[in-house]
């Protein structure tokens, strides 16, 4: 009788978005706490720990991803207004941007080409299928943009979404060390590189370093999303014509 009751509760919970939404927020809250507890160790990036906890939980309970996403989509959907919101820090950095428009534009355009070219080239070099190469090509752009591009050039949009998140995590985890190793101290330079290579997750990390780095990362993320959607389909058709 009691067991029957628990089953009924589980049937209700797994069919309603409430569970997916609640566990996402709870896992992320736990992830943030863990991250702070260990003094902001980049390896404990809250995205990494909360994604790992959620996957483990779903595998253990046997809950399918689609059921989870019924609830997760409410959070996922906020990526849209958050992208629009980047206009605010960008506007606040306008005076700096006016001074630096030339280096920003130059490094951004170069970065977008290098991101797409190197991911296709390296995947090809190590024997990846065309589908994987195409799914990787837009990986440095923010998720909604990258998914649209991936679909257009023959990749798998949902796989691209995952690769985008992993790319962001790699950038957020390695970024500050890489900049220290290269001897780069200017927060505007670090921000632009972070935003071009590691989109929103990199930008979230950049805001932890300084508001200036965050604003330039957000700017670079937004502009490179724009540039990637123009450059990648063109680059792919060019590669297909010549190789």
């Amino acid at each position: 009788m009691n067991h029957r009751g628990l089953d009924d509760i589980w049937v209700y919970l797994s069919a309603s978005p409430l569970l997916g939404l609640t566990i996402t927020l709870a896992a992320y809250g736990l992830g943030v706490r863990l991250y702070r507890r260990f003094g902001g160790n980049p390896l404990l990036n809250p995205v990494v720990t909360s994604v790992a906890m959620l996957i483990a939980l779903l595998l253990v309970t046997g809950m399918p991803y689609d059921d989870y996403f019924e609830g997760g989509q409410f959070i996922h959907y906020l990526l849209g207004p958050a992208t629009v919101a980047l206009a605010v820090p960008l506007y606040q950095q306008l005076p700096r941007l006016r001074q630096l428009w030339f280096p920003v534009a130059l490094s951004l355009i170069a970065g977008v080409f290098i991101a797409a070219g190197s991911s296709i080239g390296l995947a090809w070099l190590f024997g990846g299928s065309t589908e994987i190469q195409m799914s990787l090509a837009p990986k440095s752009a923010t998720a909604p943009v990258a998914m649209g591009i991936s679909e257009k050039i023959g990749g798998l949009p949902s796989l691209t979404a995952v690769l985008v998140v992993v790319t962001g995590i790699v950038g957020a985890v390695l970024g500050t060390r890489l900049f220290a190793w290269l001897g780069i101290k200017d927060d505007t330079v670090k921000g632009v590189a972070m935003g071009v290579a590691a989109h929103g997750i990199g930008t979230a990390r950049a805001f932890q370093v300084s508001p200036e780095m965050g604003a330039f990362s957000g700017l670079a993320m937004a502009l490179s999303a724009f540039a990637t959607s123009l450059v990648v389909p063109w680059l792919v058709s060019w590669l297909q014509a010549f190789l």
């Binding site: 992208t83 951004l108 991911s119 998720a143």
Partner: protein
């Protein structure tokens, strides 16, 4: 109330972006165009309204949370990632590091060149 107005305004700009993208058939995502339009509005108005400022900092301070549901999507692709884990891992890692390093070095070199040109005679800005 200010927060609510701010969120509404962000959604209105996103909506306007989505509509324009579909009407004009440009390959740019709606939210990106919405961001560009909001940026232009702020430049014209010359200040950030309180409502938009509040909503924007609330969303951006938890930006990484918004990527969690997509990240969990990894589990739907385990078999594919397993089959081609080597090219995926190497391409993703190396390309991200190369992109970040190259972008940073190009921007550093060009901003120093620019600073050097602006203060030519004073020996540039240096480190």
């Amino acid at each position: 109330m200010a927060f609510l107005n701010g969120i509404t305004l962000l959604l209105v700009y996103q909506l306007a972006g989505e509509v324009c993208v579909r009407l004009a058939g440009v390959p740019v995502p709606g939210p990106v165009l919405g961001m560009v339009m909001l940026f232009i509005t702020l430049v014209i108005r010359g200040r950030t309204p309180d409502s938009v400022g509040q909503a924007s900092s609330a969303l951006l301070s938890h930006l990484s949370l918004l990527f969690v549901p997509a990240g969990v999507g990894m589990m739907a692709h385990f078999h594919r990632i397993e089959a081609e884990w080597l090219p995926i891992t190497l391409s993703l890692l190396l390309s991200t590091v190369i992109t970040m390093a190259a972008t940073a070095l190009i921007m550093q070199a060009s901003s120093r060149w620019l600073a050097g040109r602006r203060n030519s005679g004073q020996g540039g800005r240096g480190q």
